[in-house]
Each structure stands twice: as C-alpha cells, then as structure tokens.
C-alpha cells in the first residue's frame, strides 16, 4: 500500500497544482468551444431568443419595435390565411413523410436483397437528385409540370389525353410539389435505410430462416424491428423538412393557385419581408416552431425505443 501511494499522491498533487494552473486547465475546453459558440450565439441562439421577444412587439423593420403584448398571437387566432397555410403545411408534410419514407424503404429493401446486382451503382444514381438545390429542382420541374409545354402534357398528348395544368389547378398543385420533393430526397433516405438494413445482424436473419421463417416473415419480424432507430431518424428529419417547406412552392406556385400551396414558412416570409410585419411574422414562426417540436416529441414517443 505504501509503495503504491507514492505515484498516486504525485498525480493528485499535480492535478491540484497552484490555483493559476488549475484555472488555466479548466479554461481549456471553453477556449476550444468559444469560436463555435460565438458564431452560434450571434447567428442562431441569439436570434431564436430575440425572435420570441419580438413576437410580442409591433416591428416594422426600420423603426424600433413597440411592445404590444399578446396582440400578435391573438390576431393569429383569427387569421384565416394563417390557418390555411398551417393546414396546407401539415397536409403536404404528412403526405411527403409517408410517401418519401415508404418509397425509400422499399428501394432500400430491394437494394439490400442478397441477390441484388449493381447495388453501388443504383445507390449512387438514386442519390443524384439530392445534390442539386431545391431551387434548381423546382425550376427543372416547371418544364415537367407545365400544362401545355410540360413533359407530362406532351407525353399525354401522344396518347390523345389532355392533362390538367398540374401547378395551376388547386387540386393537383400540392401533390405535384410533394412528388417533386419525393423525387429529390428519396435516394437520400434510401441510403440511410440501406445503411440501417446492412447493420441488422445476418446471423439473426439466418437463424430465423433455419427456424423455417419465410423471407417475408424475416423482413417483418427481424429486419424491420432492427431498423426502428433509423426509421425514427428518417421520419423525424422528413417531418421537420416537410413542415419547413418554402423553396419549391415559392418558385413553382408562389403559394397559389389561390392559397392552395401556401405553406407556413411562406406565410411567415410574406408577412415579414413583403409586408414588413416582422413582429407578427415572428409570432407566426414561433407557433410553427411549437408545432414542429410537439410533433417531433410525439414521433419519438411512438417510434422510439419501447423500453425507455
């Protein structure tokens, strides 16, 4: 015991050290995170808090904000366009989450199959649309959807059918936008699902097969439960991005026809930067934030680990 006490005591003494040295050592991690958090504070955390405070003011941009209490939130309650925007957003996001995830999962299952050839090639090729911006994909899809000169219209014309003007018809425009989003991101989610599928133990699958399980039963009872965390990740991510949809409707439809594709984030943009009602826009944005947070929590509860 006395032999061992020597070095241990020395280490202890060293780690205590004189006060100046101890302080300097304690400061090290803070110095390392300082640059990141300086920017994070100015461009993310600060504005997020400030936005909350501004949501209780009337703020026209040039002049200073004037406190108005809960007025913005009360006004929002009777703002029909805001509810239209929220409704569109929820509906389009739900459609997007379901279709994108199912398509990606099906694609990943197919790519994961033991007999699949050219797996790498397909994985890469399906990911390609994700490398371009939403703006560019929207611009390109304009020439797919356009009523008279679009690719779909031209193809339909070949068989003598006159399709609708997909983006100018309030019943089809939301679907057209959602489908375009699925096109752009399906490969991305498929890659994540595929990585999850490949992490599922092959031993477990083999064991199930030896016990006489059919291929479908293996997928249903071994593979799918194994990718639950990955599915949660994809669903939460798709939900957030779906609820924050802006670029595509902004470019393809400007929220129209009527307000059929007006999303919540577009509405915030209009209020804030076209009508310069920045306080009101901040309030609308905070309502959307709250909705996003609540939905993410609900998804975690439903899809998350059962044993927690």
């Amino acid at each position: 015991m006395t032999v061992a006490a020597g070095p241990v005591a020395a280490v202890r003494r060293r780690s205590r050290g004189p006060l100046g040295l101890r302080l300097r050592r304690a400061a090290v991690p803070y110095l390392f995170i300082l640059p990141f958090f300086a920017l994070f504070g100015v461009f993310w955390a600060g504005p997020i808090v400030a936005s909350f405070l501004y949501s209780f003011t009337q703020w026209r941009g040039i002049s200073d904000p004037v406190p108005v209490g809960l007025k913005n939130y009360v006004d929002l309650l009777s703002d029909e366009r805001f509810f239209t925007a929220l409704g569109n957003t929820l509906w389009m996001a739900a459609g997007y989450v379901v279709v994108a995830n199912l398509a990606a999962l099906a694609l990943a299952l197919l790519l994961d199959a033991g007999w699949m050839k050219l797996r790498q090639f397909f994985r890469t090729a399906f990911f390609l649309p994700m490398t371009i911006s939403m703006v560019v994909s929207a611009v390109i899809f304009q020439l797919i959807y356009a009523g008279d000169i679009g690719l779909i219209a031209k193809l339909l014309a070949l068989v003598g059918v006159e399709g609708p003007a997909w983006l100018r018809d309030p019943t089809t425009a939301p679907y057209a936008i959602v489908l375009m989003r699925v096109w752009r991101t399906m490969g991305y989610y498929a890659i994540i699902y595929l990585a999850g599928l490949q992490a599922v133990s092959t031993d477990l699958k083999e064991a199930a097969r030896l016990d006489g399980a059919s291929e479908w039963q293996v997928i249903r009872h071994v593979t799918l439960p194994g990718i639950r965390p990955v599915a949660l990740f994809c669903v939460v991510l798709a939900t957030i991005s779906g609820l924050e949809m802006f670029d595509e409707p902004m470019i393809l439809t400007q929220g129209g026809p009527g307000d059929a594709t007006l999303t919540a984030v577009m509405y915030v943009y209009q209020q804030g930067f076209q009508f310069l009602q920045l306080g009101y826009a901040a309030a609308a944005s905070y309502v959307l934030t709250l909705i996003i947070v609540l939905i993410s929590i609900a998804q975690r509860l439903v899809l998350g680990e059962k044993d927690r």
Partner: protein, 282 residues
C-alpha cells in the same frame, strides 16, 4: 461469384422475380433521371420549339448558354456561391473540429446543456432566426455582404455533432501521453488530433459546402443587389423575370449542377459515410 448472372441461394426469389426487380429499379431510375435529361434537351432548344409539341430539338443550338454568360450575371453568381460556400466549409471545419474535440474529450460545466441546445436548434424553422437578424444587420449596414452568408453556416450543428462523434472514438491514451510529454493543449490539438480527424473533417466540410451552396432563404433575404446574389437566388430571379425564357433558365440550371455533381463523384465515399454515420449511430 459463380459467374452466373442470377446465382441463387435457397432464400433468394426465383430468377424471373430477380429480373423483374432489376427491371423495376431500372425503370424507376429512368424516371429519376428524366427531369434532368428533359432540362438538358430543352436547354439546347430554340424558344419556339420549347413551346411546340416535339420532344427533341430540330437543330441543337447553344444560344441559351451564350446568352446565359453574356447577358446575365451568371458568372458573378457562380463566383459568389463559390466564395461563400468554400469559406463557410473551411471555417466550419475549423470551428466544429475544435468544439467537437472539447465536447468529446473534456469534462466541463455546461457541456450537456450546450450540446443539447445546439442539437435542438436544428428543428427551428428558418425565419425564426432570419427575422431578428434582418433587423440587426440592416442597422449595422451589413446586408449585402459575404460574411452574412458565411458565418451562420460555419456554426453548423451537424458539423459539431459529427466531429464530437468522431473525436470520441480517438484513444484517450494518446492524448494523455502527449500531455505527459509536456505538449501544450493547442499544439496537441493541431499536431495530433487534427491529422487523426481528417476523414471526419472532409465529410463535415463537404456537408457544410452543400448546405451553403444550395441555400436559398439566407441569400434571398440578406443579399439586396443582383451582383451579390448566389446561384439559387440568381436562377430563381431569371425564372420569375423572364417567364418565357425557359431555354435560358434550363441552361442556368444545368450549369449550376456541374460543380456539385463533380464534387459528389469525387468524394462520394465521404458524403455517403457522413450522411449515414449520424443516422445509424444516434
């Protein structure tokens, strides 16, 4: 490898089904690539032919590309996008490596809370931050400047998350050994940690580059003149101003895809590793 195209293990579906699967995949792939092909073809069409019923141009013309570089500020937007995205990526790599290292290898008061705050910020919708910043930056007369598009992207939550993840896999013994040798903390970071973290750094750099390159809302709000637009805002502008100039817009779209596609093909491995790492481990 048996050499047969459809080698079959007991659990595999019959060759016909495998064949159908491949055909379906190829068909789907055709659908996925179609919009690009259509945009490419359209960019070589004279204006009148975009409006007509045919599919292929009767004569392939490059007028749209000539007009793009001659009559618009396209090269300037391309330059702006490059400056902003490269700067954000380089700065972002440095900041997230430093912060990620501290979060992975030090214990300090506030560590959990700070990390949690950064991760939570990801779900905040875009205009929540943009609204106050617009007011502040307007007062500081900083609208229409590059830093406004560089600095926010350099403080990337995703980058921090990924670097912390990677740094925590580095062995503690290595760091301890360097300290016992009397290596200063910052030199230790630069000479030992950074070289080891190179793969993760590459991934973080690329992902920040992509998100900055593709970003629309920030430059839309903060860049107030044509000369300061980035590609997405410039292209969106062409698209709304000259409604009928589809050929020109398609040429603009096609050219803007080239840098990203090049980067993707060169660095595919890092990109895909980066995208899946976070998902499978969290």
């Amino acid at each position: 490898m048996t050499g047969r195209l459809f080698a079959r293990r007991p659990q595999d579906p019959p060759p016909v089904a495998q064949m159908l699967g491949l055909v379906a995949l190829t068909g789907l792939l055709g659908l996925v690539l179609m919009p690009w092909i259509w945009a490419l073809v359209s960019s070589f069409k004279p204006r009148a032919e975009i409006m007509s019923t045919g599919f292929l141009p009767s004569v392939w013309i490059v007028d749209n590309y000539v007009a793009l570089f001659r009559d618009t500020l396209y090269l300037r937007w391309l330059f702006n996008s490059a400056v902003v995205s490269v700067s954000a990526a380089v700065l972002g790599m440095a900041l997230s490596a430093m912060a990620g290292y501290a979060f992975a290898k030090f214990r300090f008061v506030g560590r959990e809370v700070l990390f949690w705050i950064v991760i939570a910020s990801v779900s905040i919708p875009p205009f929540t931050t943009v609204i106050p910043l617009f007011g502040w930056l307007a007062k500081l007369q900083m609208l229409n400047t590059y830093p406004v598009l560089i600095l926010p992207f350099a403080a990337s939550a995703f980058g921090l998350f990924m670097m912390r993840q990677y740094m925590s896999t580095l062995p503690d013994e290595l760091i301890e050994a360097a300290r016992i040798d009397g290596c200063g903390e910052f030199r230790l970071f630069l000479t030992i940690i950074v070289p080891l973290a190179r793969p993760a750094l590459g991934t973080v750099g690329i992902l920040i580059f992509i998100s900055s390159w593709n970003s629309f809302i920030w430059p839309l709000v903060f860049m107030r003149s044509n000369e300061m637009f980035t590609l997405p805002v410039g292209i969106a502008g062409l698209n709304s101003e000259q409604m009928a100039e589809y050929g020109l817009v398609m040429a603009a779209a096609i050219v803007s895809c080239i840098p990203m596609l090049t980067i993707f093909f060169l660095m595919q491995k890092q990109i895909i590793a980066g995208l899946t790492r976070g998902a499978v481990k969290s």
